[in-house]
Amino acid sequence: MSYALEVRNLRARIGDLEILTGVDLTVPFGEVHAVMGPNGSGKSTLSHVLMGKSDYNVEGDAFIDGVDLSGMTVDQRARAGLFEAFQYPIEVPGVSLDLLTTAMAESNPEDPGFGGRIAATSERLSMEPFRSRALNVGLSGGEKKRSEMYLLGVANPKVAILDEIDSGLDIDAVREVAAMVEALRSEDLGVVIITHYSRILRYMSVDKVHVMVAGKIVRSGGPEIAEELEGSGYTEYQVAAAG
């Protein structure tokens, strides 16, 4: 049986700057993993590199459900089952959420489930008033995150990478996002939550926590690591990485 996500010795450079220095990460189906790490350690870069953004020189391997992502374009990776919830969702003026979800359905003609998921996720997240608005334009920070979660529900991926989906949210919204991730948890999905706060992890269960420093995973373990980091910070790991 293959893993939802398998990353082996993934490296990414921009020019001479090596941002990912050898990431290894395995997320089985049915599990939710958290990736934590200091600012600039490469967490967003990891999600962009997996998504296939063209800015980087990439080496190493990544698989979604056993399918090798190398050589695949961004849209091919999305259709292969990878979903990235953006830390900073991009504004697309004049393109409504409805227009995008319609286009998503058209892009996946062999998946008849879009209509049902649009209706159900819209209902669940009370998206009705937002669906005719332009993508991320004029949305509050929290509304942008909700919009990303809505698209995740519509896309129904095999792997979801949620990049700081809890940043800038009020307590209730954090709970709501946590509940939604819990609800998504299934044997057909692996989730990676990139976060700075153990707060969200209080409202949902994670199977593993990974610590990312200087472009690689330096420690993996159970949810207790998150609490530990809350007290100790990353200094110890950063010193080790620099050493």
């Binding site: 849209d75 286009a103 998503m104």
Partner: protein
Amino acid sequence: MPPTLTGSNDAAWMAKKRTAALELLPTLAMPSEREENWRYLDLSFDPDLDSAPSTPGVASSDAIVAGWHGTVVTIVDGFIVTDGVQSIGERNEETVSVDGDDLFSTAFVAYAPGTAYLGKELLTQPVFVDIQSTSTATTFPGVHVDVAPGSDATVVVRMSSNSDQPAVTVPRVTANVGDNARLTLSIIQDWNYATRAIGRCTIRLGRDSGLAFSEIGLGGKVGRLHLDVDYIGDGSHAKIYGAYFGEGNQTLDYRYFMNHIGTNTRADMFLKGAVADTALSVFTGMIRIEETGQRTESFETNRNLILSEGAAAQSVPNLEILNNDVKCGHGSSIGPLDEDQRYYLMSRGLTPEHADRLQVHGFFEEVVEQIPDEHVAAWARERINNKYIVAQQEGRV
């Protein structure tokens, strides 16, 4: 009432003006590209101004006209062919100044068979002015909108060709918006790609009046529109929108002049364009605030997408401010489709082609949604999007 011979219905004042224009014409030269006003146009063509046809060709109808909920006024080859629509030249007084100030506008006075007068009676309903050209001869279609004080009017002017033959056309749209009146005016320029259109539009705004103006530029080998909005009345205000899409070897030349004369006037100008192949678009925006124009607020923005390597856009926002108590701003941009938007849309599973189509759609949507009729807006949206889709399919963008 069959269309009559040009000039035969002229009131005395109009006959005089026509004669004067005819006398003046031989002394006027084709403008030169050395003049600032004409610098972006290739003027090396014969405008053949005295070739105006003596009768209109046969009008055709399409879905957009058939589906219009309101009045339709049809003008074919410059002739008003809809019964009961007066020409301004038939009226007893000069409702609006018809004087020309260059070769083309003087030729308009001399040769235009009539300028459709849209007054109180016609404007009780939205009016669609269907301007068609069937001729290779030079035509002079004209419309004047006279919005009575305190009233509301909606007018869509669509200009198109019934053939793919080359022609020159000199369309002219004028409007007077009375005190406290509102005008929503859309001009859709959809000439064939062999037609040179040298268009003029002049709008005068009364006290506390409002204008919502939009222009959609699709066709024309040359599509030029020189717009003057005169904010004469205190408190007059306008939103000016434009969208244009040039391809092939089209030149789309927009000269938009906001002339602030009264106090407390406000203008928001917002034009968006795309060019493909070797097309050229030009936006020359001028905010001119007279000494009398105290507390004017006036803004102009022009955004351009360059879709092919050989295409070019010029964006020239100008300000001429003769008093201090004003707020003004201008911005312009020229560049390719946005990489981040493409990445974001592709990350949702859309092919790059599909992502770009959405981005182009969205780019123009802010303007297209200003068209006052949902039907016409849907039609314009589809026309613009189709231009892009076909260019994509043919590998031109």
